[in-house]
Amino acid sequence: MPEPAIQCVDVVKDYRGGLGGRQAYRALHGISLAVPQGQVFGFLGPNGAGKTTALKILLSFIRPTSGAALLFGRSTQEPATRRLLGYLPETTTYPEYLTAREAVMFYARLSGLARGTAASAAADALRTTGLREDADRPLKYFSKGMRQRVGLAQAIVHQPACLVLDEPASGLDPLGRREIRELITRLRAQGMTIFFSSHELSEVEAICDTIAILHRGRILVQGALTALLASATEHPSRAAALETLFVNTIRQDDHAHESVSDRA
């Protein structure tokens, strides 16, 4: 069995505050997950569930209190491992004086591509994301949707084995969302593993193979989307079934949490 593309092993994260760091807030309570290679993984959760913290640990922006995040079995704390990774943040403000080509070239070269290779890879990535015509315009003239496409171009420019997308369709119009969805489908067809964090259940339903639902720093549900939705056959559509699954899972956890709090 091939190694999972992404693996989180019992990851705990405490944020310390107050005088001398005596007040601690546990953002992640030992989450474990495995994303098989070549799949699109949907990472769901309400606001404040810990999705961003988990993503930051996966990308090595923050260190876990305990546990480990692995990419193809190697720690993401190692810079060389991150060559396998492409990342699109939810929002990014690129330097406005750069053109789209310069921005993508910069990240291509930081990913280890030589100047000549980076130029052709940037041109390919910009063509893939539909920015070929606007490649040499400064980014200050770009709309939000176009900037999001620049973000996608920089994420895929070095042909990573794994792509981490944080709310990729955020702020996009329906056409933009459709284009991003089609692009993700194309990338999956090329064998790329995609880790997809989103609130948009319809997007997740349309493109994800497996999902995990995170709430209060714990993974409540994890598995193949089809199997998880199989129980909700009374719903007319898969999107409605996923919404019901999501809402019920969160509410059950909230009730359980309230009961524990009342007993305490």
Binding site: K56, L59, S60, F61, I62, R63, P79, A80, T81, R82, R83, L85, G86, Y87, P89, T91, T92, T93, Y94, P95, Y97, F106, Y107, R109, L110, S111, G112, Q154, V164
Partner: protein, 258 residues
């Protein structure tokens, strides 16, 4: 080779973004105004005029270049954190120390370029007014250049700990207080009770002494220049502190959450 490429790319982007900061033209105007005022003065005798000119130059040039070094540096990493471009860099095969050193190289190049422009403006004014160049002028400029690098490193280190505004305030306060550390604390190091001596020793060794980089008196009074060999310890002292601050910044950034 990859390391050098990463350092070059980060430094290059830092220079491109730093040179768009608004404080650079403001400081250029301040230097031009100071030089213009010096050039327009006519009411002193020759020696007094030269002393006045060099006093103004040795007052304005270090202050303006330290302000440029501080303001150029203190925004870089906080700004990159805020607009998430730092995340895009750190998601690549780039080590965190490369981000610190690359950023330092970028801000150092910007500050040094500004330093040369400002110095050139004063030197051109001197030449235009036919003022005799003091023998210690080159030494003084060299030491001010080392001081600029020191403030780049100090501001970079502080920008990891606090806000850009606080970094700027601390650096500028330190510019004034740092001149006084050695003259104030040196007498306290001998002949005082150990309770006074211990904190004095700690403060003495834990802070760079900026008065070492100040050659105002030799320049103003046209004293003969000391040999370059005598200057080497001071340059080493400044470069050593710069390296120490960069090392501390690398250690801090390696552990910190972004």
């Amino acid at each position: 080779m990859t390391t050098l490429t990463n350092l070059y790319l980060i430094a290059h982007e830092t220079v491109r973004s730093a040179r768009r900061r608004r404080h650079l033209p403001v400081m250029l105007l301040a230097v031009l105004a100071s030089a213009a005022i010096c050039c327009s003065m006519e009411f002193f005798g020759s020696v007094q005029y030269q002393q006045f000119f060099f006093h103004i130059m040795m007052l304005v040039l270090p202050l303006v270049t330290v302000v440029v070094a501080t303001l150029t540096t203190c925004w870089v990493l906080p700004q990159q954190r805020q607009d998430h471009t730092l995340h895009l860099v750190l998601a690549r095969p780039v080590a965190r120390w490369q981000v610190i050193i690359g950023t330092f190289l970028g801000v150092a190049v910007t500050s040094v370029m500004a330093f040369f422009v400002f110095t050139a403006i004063f030197l051109l004014s001197l030449w235009w007014r036919a003022v005799v160049f003091p023998p210690a002028l080159l030494h003084a400029v060299t030491l001010l250049l080392v001081q600029v690098l020191l403030f780049n490193a100090l501001a970079l280190f502080l920008s990891l700990l606090t806000t850009p505004a606080m970094t700027a305030v601390v650096c500028l306060l330190y510019y004034f207080l740092g001149q006084l550390i050695q003259p104030t604390l040196q007498p306290a190091l001998a002949g005082t009770p150990w309770l006074v001596r211990l904190p004095a020793w700690c403060a003495f060794f834990a802070t760079p002494h900026l008065n070492y980089f100040n050659l105002t008196m030799p320049v103003v009074h046209q004293w003969p220049a000391v040999s370059w060999f005598m200057l080497v310890p001071t340059i080493t002292y400044g470069v050593g502190w710069t390296a120490l601050l960069l090392l501390a910044a690398c250690g801090l950034f390696r552990r910190c959450d972004v």
